[in-house]
């Protein structure tokens, strides 16, 4: 509230506007997209803590061969619940539900999303899904199928699989409705003058994501319903004894769950595309190329699902078709990396904390992407399938990609969200500790996988001991980094110094309004007359 001209009306931020509600009702009854975004953020933080603790337990189990903390059943349950929580409750809703909700309307110059009540309803569905996941932990013991719920084991296991599968189904609905809301918002509520090609890149990435959410999620929904039907009624869709085909389950599951990877990564790329121009003081290089590659990823991403099944027994034609398509989808991702790097070229880079996250995102994402090609190639995949290499690869993409972008985004937009600044030196320390921990944790797993250590085993041969110790040590370092980052952010959100207006010199609409925004974001709907990313 500093460099703004004085107005007759006092600026009342969305955090102060309570609509006459009290306590928790200020939040759980509010249809304000910004409050809903924070509802998602806080619920995800709780789940993330649980997921991280489960991950740590696995790494502690793997610190030495043989049983150290838990036996095989407990280990299976741990990696399943870790996967279900991390995938369905955090990375899939992650950036779209938090930053998409908060920023999309502001960045396109709208007062809210198209369907504010539906938006709040989506969050309630999310909570319902979370409750189902919690229920699955009790009764006959947590599910032990892995987060993929592969048939036929998923309906033969005695554990409490049903609530987990139904939870994922319900969470899918939340995701669909959020995507639907965003598509309509972008089509109908852009400010006057904001043509498609003047829209910032983060809303573009949300747009691509929303289409995937909308068109891919129903498939996994029906598949999980079929698994539920299998468990409750014994229908036999995927039961070989009854003529069903378990391979068909894998197809149906991955038709959604591979595009889901792009639900996770596209908004992450969108956030990076916002951060990099701001801190290099340069127009983004190849705006159109980034837009087109976003849509290309969303499109081609549909047709690569069977690369998860190279060893499941498909025809040779299917194998090499899916392998080629997998290679194709790498091209638009590489275009984006090229664009980001070229944007930095000859820019005046200021290495603020968000920029460091973005730069390390590119580094991590490239390792994750290139190792993905190793897995996309048929011959190497046969060797590496179901080894620790795969685990390392997708943690580099899913946790590295989404995680680094998420932390970059929250450090970048923190002044907008809370109107305060965080402690820079702590944020920097947290970043470097996290980065080192991350690479130490997952790096050795590439090596272990190539040497033949399978994933999803609580035990391993003595020869794998050394790298596993390094990996567990990395996990501890990374969690230390996480604690520093999160503590710093929580503390700063409550009592950090008031942020100056537009601290980073960003050009999008969210930087032109007062932070934190008022309930309606804009006193007057802005008229857009020039492209964004123009720096003086």
């Amino acid at each position: 509230m500093t460099s703004q001209t004085s107005e007759s009306k006092v600026h009342k931020t969305y955090l102060e506007e309570d609509m006459g509600r009290k306590g928790i009702f200020k939040w759980i009854l509010s249809t304000d997209h910004k409050r809903i975004a924070l509802l998602y953020l806080y619920s995800m933080m709780v789940w993330f803590t649980v997921g991280v603790v489960l991950g740590l337990l696995m790494k502690l189990e793997l610190i030495a061969p043989g049983k150290t903390l838990m036996g095989p059943q407990a280990y299976n349950a741990t990696f399943t619940v870790h996967g279900v929580i991390m995938i369905f409750l955090i990375v899939i809703p992650g950036l779209p539900a938090v930053f998409g909700n908060f920023l999309l309307p502001i960045q396109i110059g709208a007062k809210d999303v198209a369907f504010p009540r539906l938006n709040l309803f989506s969050w309630y569905i999310y909570v319902l899904g979370s409750i189902l996941v919690i229920i699955s932990l009790f009764g006959n013991g947590p599910p032990d199928t892995g987060w993929t719920f592969y048939a036929p084991y998923s309906f033969k296991t005695g554990t409490n699989m049903l609530p987990a599968a139904l939870g994922a189904f319900v969470l899918g609905f939340s995701s669909i409705l959020t995507g639907l809301n965003f598509i309509v918002t972008i089509h109908r509520m852009r400010a006057p003058g904001m043509t498609w090609m003047k829209m910032p890149l983060f809303p573009w990435s949300i747009y691509g994501t929303a289409w995937i959410q909308l068109l891919a999620t129903p498939i996994v929904g029906i598949t999980l319903l079929m698994v539920a039907g299998e468990r409750i009624l014994g229908i036999g869709f995927f039961d070989p004894a009854k003529g069903g085909d378990p391979l068909l389950y894998q197809h149906l599951f991955w038709i959604y769950s591979h595009p889901a990877v792009y639900i996770m990564i596209l908004p992450a790329m969108g956030a990076i595309s916002e951060i990099i121009p701001t801190f290099t003081r340069k127009t983004i290089f190849g705006y159109k190329a980034i837009v087109i590659s976003t849509l290309a990823i969303a499109f081609v991403g549909y047709f690569v699902w069977a690369h998860h099944m190279f060893t499941s027994g498909m025809s040779g034609t299917a194998l090499f078709t899916f392998s080629i398509l997998t290679f194709l989808v790498a091209i638009p991702s590489a275009i984006k990396v090229f664009n980001w790097i070229t944007t930095m070229h000859k820019g005046s880079i200021s290495t603020e904390v968000p920029f460091q996250w973005a730069a390390s995102f590119i580094f991590i994402f490239m390792i994750g992407g290139l190792t993905g090609l190793v897995l996309g190639a048929l011959a190497t995949d046969v060797h590496l399938h179901d080894t620790a290499f795969v685990v390392a690869h997708f943690h580099f993409i899913v946790f590295g990609g989404v995680g680094f972008a998420f932390f970059g985004a929250i450090h970048y937009w923190f002044p907008v969200i809370y109107g305060r600044m965080y402690d820079n030196s702590w944020a920097r320390t947290g970043w470097i500790v996290f980065f080192i921990g991350f690479v130490t944790l997952y790096g050795p797993m590439f090596y272990l996988g190539m040497k033949g250590m399978p994933r999803r085993y609580f035990d391993y041969l003595e020869e794998f001991h050394g790298p596993n110790i390094i990996s567990t040590f990395g996990a501890l370092v990374m969690i230390t980094g996480l604690v520093i980052i999160v503590t710093n952010l929580i503390k700063s959100a409550r009592s950090g110094p008031i942020a100056p207006h537009n601290p980073w010199g960003g050009t999008n609409l969210e930087w032109r309004i007062k932070s934190p925004p008022s309930l309606e974001n804009f006193d007057e709907i802005p008229v857009i007359d020039k492209a964004t990313y123009k720096f003086d």
Binding site: D112, I183, H187, L215, I219, G244, D245, E520
Partner: protein
Amino acid sequence: MSETAVHHDEHRDDLGSKLGMWLFIFTELLLFGGLFIVYAVYRHANQEAFHLAAKQLDVTVGTINTVILLISSMTIAMSTTAIQKKDKKLTLILIGITLILALVFLVNKYFEWSGKISHGLYPGSPVLEELGQGDILFFGLYFFMTGLHAVHIIVGMVFLGVGFMRVKNDRLSFDNYQLLENGGLYWHLVDLIWIFLFPLFYLIT
């Protein structure tokens, strides 16, 4: 509490909400699309058994239900025209007919299902287990797909029921009828899915 208290709920965009409805219909089509894939795969693998099993279903009841749904689609489409012509009474009658037809459909379905179940043809039944894999899959798909469709009928009825009440209370009228139109769109979807289910289970033998 100031004038900002009247907030976004005031925002109204009929075209936007119609777009939203269409997008939702896409997702519903894909939901059933997954089942159609499963049907296609298993039909291909068990042609003989699917052929014989389909003869167990009563084409007459299926046809009656198809006609019922087609008529109900017509009445709901007429109701959106009626409301635009400011004819509240006719609108209510037409929505009412649609709801009654939907109920008749469900009653037919109930008798059809209970007939099958009394013959021991239901998922997991001992009779079905003896019949062989093709029959297990056929009747599994039959109950699952028509069951899911019946759930959609019920959802559609709730949707149209809300529309009925709103028309009755004058909260929905000629200048503000998007909810009814969306309900109609949804109802056409439910109808359309049945148009595919009917030949797949009853007619192709």
